[in-house]
């Protein structure tokens, strides 16, 4: 009987979400018993691909073969049965269940729990010892550390008979020590013949842990390499790609005083995890500071804390001399009064209200403005005519203030938001992903406008995952990785390679890992 060389074979996988081409003719071959890395920036399509493999999504077209057998997974149940197990980025665990209960959910082994629990306990103890996955089976999930929770996810997959384990950005929530422990577990698993697919954006993980690596970019699979025959630089370049640089003419300007000061800023979320840690930088009047980094590395928390939406945990922020720290909260409306404008990263979630008309959208955050309000009445007519001129100025089409904002194309929505925030004549501008989902023609327009704001003496903070945008517009660049500053560079000295390495935290001496012995 022929032994199949490949655990997984994907051929020409296509997946669209509306106009977005998440996976474009993606091919992948994973050798049995190997550790295979898939690397790429966020939005590259890695998670979608794995979700298809796990049966969460249905591919539009393409072939899936597991151990040589062809499948079309309609749900995760089928995928699990074929031997695939997945450890998600956000754990699929029931917090107030014990480890044991979480593992057997769906595979209880009978109507009565008792027998199933006893059998599971035996099997899990065995698995735990065999692979070094030690967890207290009777502890509740919410009492466990994140690293232990992840081990539960792995145990769950193994218990259900996974021969192929997919891990989606597993070290994102781990400390370096926990990450090391995880990689030791990989070795143990590999020894037992388990195939591992590791999705990550971190170069050092790929290089230290995997046997082979595939690179995805913009929904396409762009390269396959044997890990031993490649290096950081090559991978960084493949990951980030060579894009057309929109060279915008920038005149060197004199910068003024510091308008925005960020000092040892740390932000913790409601689970007490650090989203931002010890971040410091300044933005002067008349300069653009670009925040580069792979999406999900703290940019959201940065923008939201700077704009007053979420509170500061440690350190402080000074906006035009007004101090924000854990004892002093300043709300977004006050900050706007001081002269801070904010273009949010996620326009659908935060920057717009879909059912509002363009006219109503044009005053989000500014509805209390004295210029459009008499004592009691909000002057809708004035708002509408203001909106009309805004839309004309920023070329928002169609120029119809009465049209619901959800009816506009993404690019036009973005221009509307930019128009709203720019024309307030703010002193500080926070801009998040200004050209996401925007067509080429509009991109140039927007970039010109941002530069114009800088030239008129505003302090601009630009957050973007588009490297060429950062490089062509910013005066200085600060790179974020895992919520911390991982690099600073003047834009004239910056190139893709250097920035890519910074984004993957390659220069951070604190994560020198010993390469795994095979």
């Amino acid at each position: 009987m022929q032994k199949h060389k490949y655990a997984i074979e994907l051929k020409d996988i296509d997946k669209r979400f509306g106009p977005v081409y998440a996976n474009n003719k993606v091919c992948l071959q994973v050798e049995k018993g190997s550790i295979h890395g898939i690397i790429g920036e966020n939005g590259a399509g890695k998670s979608t691909l794995m979700s298809i493999l796990y049966g969460f999504y249905l591919a539009d077209s393409g072939e899936i073969k597991v151990f040589g057998k062809q499948y079309k997974f309609k749900d995760s149940h089928q995928a699990i049965k074929s031997g695939i197990g997945m450890v998600h980025q956000h754990f699929m665990l029931v917090d107030n269940f014990t480890v044991l209960e979480n593992v057997i959910l769906g595979s209880e082994g009978g109507a009565l729990l008792h027998e199933g629990l006893t059998a599971a306990r035996k099997e899990l103890t065995r698995l735990g010892e065999e692979y070094g996955l030690k967890v207290d089976l009777d502890a509740t999930i919410d009492s466990l550390s994140v690293g232990s929770q992840q081990r539960v996810e792995i145990l769950k997959a193994l218990y259900k008979g996974a021969k192929i384990l997919i891990l989606d950005e597993p070290t994102g929530v781990l400390t370096p020590q926990e990450a090391q422990d995880l990689f030791r577990i990989f070795t143990a698993l590999k020894k037992e013949g388990v195939t591992i697919i590791l999705i990550t954006h971190k170069l050092h993980e790929i290089l230290n842990v995997t046997d082979n690596v595939s690179v995805m970019r913009d929904g396409e699979m762009v390269a396959h390499r044997e890990t031993s025959s490649t290096n950081r630089e090559e991978l960084a370049q493949l990951m980030v790609g060579r894009k057309v640089l929109f060279k915008v003419d920038k005149v060197k300007k004199d910068i003024g005083e510091v308008l925005l000061k960020v000092s040892n800023l740390s932000v913790r979320d409601k689970n007490n995890t650090y989203r931002l840690q010890d971040v410091s930088f300044d933005v002067h009047a008349g300069e653009i500071v670009g925040i580069a980094g792979v999406s999900g590395n703290g940019q959201g928390a940065l923008l939201e804390s700077l704009s007053g939406i979420i509170p500061v945990s440690e350190g402080y922020i000074e906006v035009l001399g007004h101090r924000m720290d854990s004892d002093n909260l300043i709300y977004p409306d006050k900050l706007r009064e001081y002269g801070l404008s904010h273009v949010p990263e996620d326009r659908q979630r935060m920057g717009l209200i879909s059912e509002f008309t363009a006219s109503e959208t044009s005053i989000i955050g500014y509805h209390n403005d004295k210029k459009i309000n008499s004592k009691v009445i909000l002057n809708n007519k004035k708002v509408r005519s203001n909106c009309e001129s805004l839309m004309a100025d920023f070329d928002v089409r169609p120029n119809d203030p009465r049209l619901k904002s959800e009816s506009f194309s993404g690019g036009n929505q973005q221009k509307l938001i930019l128009a709203r925030e720019f024309t307030r004549d703010p002193k500080i501008l926070l801009i998040g992903q200004p050209t996401r989902g925007v067509d080429i023609g509009a991109i140039e327009f927007i970039h010109k406008r941002i530069i114009a704001m800088r030239d008129s003496g505003k302090a601009v903070l630009l957050v973007s995952v588009e490297l060429e945008e950062i490089m062509s517009i910013s005066d200085r660049i600060v790179v974020l990785c895992d919520g911390q500053v991982s690099g600073r560079i003047d834009s004239k000295d910056a190139d893709e390679r250097t920035l890519g390495l910074m984004m993957a935290n390659a220069f951070n001496t604190s994560d020198n890992f010993e390469p795994l012995t095979t």
């Binding site: 704009s307 007053g308 939406i309 709300y331 977004p332 409306d333 006050k334 900050l335 706007r336 904010h342 949010p344 979630r349 935060m350 920057g351 717009l352 209200i353 879909s354 059912e355 509002f356 109503e360 005053i363 989000i364 955050g365 509805h367 209390n368 309000n373 009691v376 009445i377 909000l378 809708n380 049209l403 619901k404 009816s407």
Partner: protein, 366 residues
Amino acid sequence: MNRNSRINWINRLLLPILNVLTAFIATAFVFVFIDVDPIEATEILLYGAFGYQEGIGYTLYYATNFIFTGLAVAVAFHAGLFNIGGEGQAYIGGLGTSLVILMIDPNTSPLIFISGSILGGLVFGGLWALIPAYLQAYRGSHIVITTIMFNFLASSLMVYLLVNVLRQTGQMTPESQLFPQQSWLPFIHNIAGNIGFVIEESPLNISIFVALFFSILVWIFIWHTRWGYAIRATGLNSTAALYAGIKPKRIIILSMCISGALAGLVGINELAGYQHRLIMDFHFGYGFGGIAVALMGRNHPIGIIIAAILFGILYQGGAELAFEMENISRDIIVVMQALIILFCGALQYMYRPWIIRLLAPIEKEV
């Protein structure tokens, strides 16, 4: 017509009409089930509502109550909150109205009485909503359950007050003393009589104009002030509202208190305008009816007025039906109310996928 505006029409007009029709057809089934000819029933109902002057008067008088409670529910809905406490807020609002009337000197001018009555209703109704609102905003207590509890508490409180405090000495019936004449809101049939039109008596009084006035106020407030803007933003996208610097706790309290205040005006129509004394259960059913009216009227004052008139028709027509046909009581209106809440509320998007596919399909890319 491009696809977007077509979808707009579907959402705004076609779907609501379909939903209401479904509710009516379902009611027809109920009629059939109890051996009543639905056509005949409809005829009697419509006759009762329109067929004679007194009936029309009653229809509009009922509609007035529904306008108040419909507006109340709608304001809360705009903030994303479900105010089920309209029953209690209407009841306590009426208490407020009555207390003001009973405490003012009986010889004061009618104008002061009207203003006082309205103020009393607004304040008491608003206060009755304040505690649940505060608990939701600052303690996270589920507002639906607290407002339902406050409905029951209102009942108990009012029974106590009417039996022990406000009841006239020597009387058996739990009701307050008669309101002074100056506080009585003029009946429409009286006003008409004074200018030469003779129409049959009915409880319809000038409260209906108060209701229309407040409809305009609500319209202005929700769509033409910054507070209304903040309320709508919160209800539609709470994240964007946070981004805008809107404080959610304040919105909860503001919208619920206004909601309660509006519901509290039922007493103007029922007590100052008709009964002329505080009685038990004058408010009964209007709070819940307000939910149906708001859902049907899609939370817009114009829709609410139309829906309220429709409900007035149902109420009055239902009374006629109960009068004409043995073995049907006015509870058939309650059934219709429930079906409207069901099809215009919980199942409001039931038909949507089919209709969109039929009338506004996505063009397939070639």
